[in-house]
Amino acid sequence: MIKNILLGTLLLAFMLQSCTKRYDEINTNPNLVPEVSPEQLFAPALASILDINMSRNRTFNNELMQVTVNIGDGDGKVFRYDIRTTWGTQPWNNLYLELTNLKNIYSIADTSSRYKNDSYKGVSLILQSWVYSILTDTYGDIPYSESNLGRLEDGANRRPKFDKQKDIYMAIYDSLEIANSILAQSTDAITSNSDPVFKGDVAKWRKFGNSLYLRLLLRLSGKSEVSATVISKFQNIVNNPVQYPIISDNNESAILRWSGSAVAAEPMSSPFNNVRVQDFRSPGLGEFFIGNLRNWNSPLIQTNAPHGTNSINRWGIAQGSNAWSGVPSGYAPGQDVTKSSYFLAAIRIHQTRLPLPEPICKRNRLPAKC
């Protein structure tokens, strides 16, 4: 009797054990996919990074740089350099997550047997360099060599060490060097549909990478410990256009064009669609910014053709009550100021630009070739 019970139990246990065989299937998330191609991560990652930077630019950088003045006598006004600690987290918290996407593009393009693609590797390195440069320019020393390695397969590092800003810059130069040589040799295609910036033109990405390289070299050109090497590298790049092609005309600019749709839920629609019209128009322009455009008679604010379209100037700036004039940034609390010029909400749906120098060489009086 007892023997039979034991036998029955064992049999039952065995049966149960066998039905757990398909448990891995049940526990495979049907809402996610385990493997993606680099192009499937590419467009959204790019759009998100621009979204993060543009939102930051509107609320913070514009106030710091005297472009806009968010009028008010309350506390915590950025234009009075009254900067609360809470301002600190946004680029850090958002850009590091996007770096995960960029790094995954690299690792998929590097190791996946299905999606091996040198061009995506090169482009990923360029974009990583760009994002890390924004992070280190904002925060100084940051996690670089050990960052974004939280995944078990990557070493499960949840507390990356901080690297010195100087070392990070040197490492970024190395990545851009590698990106240039990878892209020089790569014959792999970037899917044009997935590339909102250059429509899959690998040569243009290479130029963008090298121009970014120039800009980042420029940043350290005044640091005495490295200026000699940095300047000679700069010259090396501009003197060897075959080895280091750079952006040479406007058609090669790195621009992500938003779709122009005013609907926030559409792909590639400007993040400013999430800002209400009245909020977007609310900050006045700074007198420093609009006053100079006015005094220089800048074509950027001229509303007539060929500079403007439909009576709106290039930068979508409205005149306001006192014509082209602004509010003095950092004005004393209590002082009576009037908002005049402001950004039209129409600019929300316009294009944005990856941060690229236009005539770097001219401005810095560098060798004639450039």
Binding site: T20, Y23, N27, T28, P34, Q40, N148, R158, T191, P267
Partner: protein, 468 residues
């Protein structure tokens, strides 16, 4: 655009065995064993460790049947148990990495777009195991007019499956972890009694029920030096698990204090100084809970009341900080017109800027907006954290039952008329609506952080029950 309904599925199988044995109807033993297999622990790379076994043992001894006790004791029972419980949780898909679809991009180009997850999965997820020991006694005496049930327990929970917050420079904002070992030690007491009972039927009777429970939660071991379990809305408020601490320990930025505990103010502005690092604010889990229910019956009337309370925990109030910043609370009235000198000290510095001592604060804070912000605002989690101790008058009701004699001719068995009230009063140092709050966050109840709760409602009503 495609829509993506979220699908979720899990399955488990178990095998359960139980053996009961009794000796002379007063000594009982129960042995059980259970083996579970759950899909939530499986992943494509490892399928063998989804099963786990856990046993339990219960012993009870009816003392009143085994030996002759004094006649005042009607019933006495002693019990002891050991149990081991395992669980793989009921949340699937925490073991394999995957990319989430971004349906908004579907119309862009051809093809589907994805993004890396922000929460790290745990491929080697282990089941939670709780081993607990309990001893208890139950007794009824004085013709069952007084009784109690008392239980003391100690349980160790290992490998609790939790989501912790990690710094985003790791590339992710959270991760699934098996969190160390947590010990719970506690005592539960239930008592019932009838202090007054008239001899004749329908006379005055007073019943009382008291329950008391206390629990202490201590972290014995954790995979990292500290694990952030939850983050609050403001002031870097967070629940942090550390060895020796509790799973409910709240940390956040708070007041800079002198060694004797006084708030340090800024000599330039008169505002309170706030720490750069997070400090311990308090535990969000109450030490004890007590409830007392009384019922008085006299003839056809019955009155019952229920009071309960808890003590020993703190919570952060988002609503309080927000309303302070907007100047909507009475606490922000002092100093509005002439400034205020905060109650605390100033640092005395030597020539090199080192703190050499403290003196009484004498700086008038004139920017009152900023002053209250520094005291209780967004950056100061301590300033808007309060004790969640309370006593609540939870319920009262009066019933009147119409004597059956009047009803017979209408063929009605019983008519009861009652009026009742729930959530009648709260006595609590908590400055906002209700110290009992819980914010749902996924499947967890977010204890410790009140994020703009609605006020709880007081209910009053009357009812009429007719039984045929």
């Amino acid at each position: 655009m495609q829509s993506f309904p979220y699908k979720s599925r899990f399955e488990y199988s178990s095998l359960y065995g139980i053996i009961n044995a009794a000796y002379k109807n007063y000594f009982f033993i129960e042995l059980s064993a259970r083996r579970d297999w759950t899909s939530t622990l499986a992943n494509p790379y490892r399928n063998n460790s989804v099963g786990f076994t856990y046993p339990s043992l219960n012993i009870s001894y009816i003392l009143s049947d085994a030996v002759k006790l004094p006649s005042s004791i009607n019933y006495a029972k002693l019990r002891a148990s050991y149990s081991n419980v395992g669980s793989g949780g009921t949340v699937p898909y925490r073991t394999s990495y995957g990319y989430g679809p971004l349906p908004v991009y579907d119309a862009y180009g051809n093809g589907n777009y994805y993004a890396a997850p922000s929460v790290l999965v745990k491929p080697d997820l282990k089941p939670l195991r709780t081993t607990s020991y309990e001893v208890g006694a139950e007794m009824q005496m004085f013709k069952r007019r007084f009784g109690f049930d008392i239980a003391a327990y100690m349980g160790n929970t290992k490998d609790q499956i939790l989501q912790s917050i990690i710094d985003r420079s790791s590339g992710y904002s959270g991760e699934i972890i098996n969190a160390g070992t947590v010990r719970n030690v506690g005592l539960e007491v239930a008592m019932n009694g009838t202090p007054v009972k008239a001899k004749k039927a329908g006379g005055f009777k007073w019943d009382i029920n008291v329950t008391y429970s206390t629990n202490k939660n201590k972290i014995i071991d954790i995979p990292d030096s500290s694990v952030v379990l939850r983050t609050g809305a403001v002031g870097s408020g967070q629940i942090v698990a550390k060895v020796g601490g509790s799973m409910g320990d709240m940390y956040g930025r708070g007041f800079v204090r002198s060694p004797d505990g006084q708030v340090v103010f800024d000599p330039a502005t008169g505002n309170a100084k706030i720490t750069e690092e997070v400090v311990f604010i308090g535990n969000t889990m109450p030490i004890g809970k007590l409830s007392i229910q009384n019922a008085f019956t006299f003839k056809n009337f019955r009155l019952s009341t229920l009071f309960d309370g808890q003590w020993g925990a703190v919570g952060h109030s988002l609503m309080h900080y927000k309303m302070v910043e907007q100047g909507k609370l009475q606490v922000t009235v002092p100093g509005r017109y002439n400034g205020i000198i905060g109650n605390g000290v100033l640092e005395v510095l030597d020539a090199s800027g080192q703190v050499t001592g403290y003196r009484k604060n004498d700086v008038v804070a004139t920017d009152i907006d900023e002053y209250y912000r520094s005291m209780m605002g967004v950056d100061n989690a301590e300033g808007s954290s309060f004790s969640t101790d309370f006593i609540k008058f939870r319920e009262a009701r009066i019933d009147y039952t119409i004597p059956a004699a009047y009803l017979k001719k209408y063929r009605i068995d019983k008519i009861t008329l009652g009026i009742y009230g729930r959530n009648l009063f709260i006595w609590s140092p908590w400055p906002m609506f209700d110290p009992e709050f819980g914010t749902l966050s996924g499947t967890d109840i977010n204890q410790g952080f009140e994020i703009a709760q609605f006020p709880s409602t007081r209910t009053m009503g009357a009812n009429l029950i007719i039984t045929f």
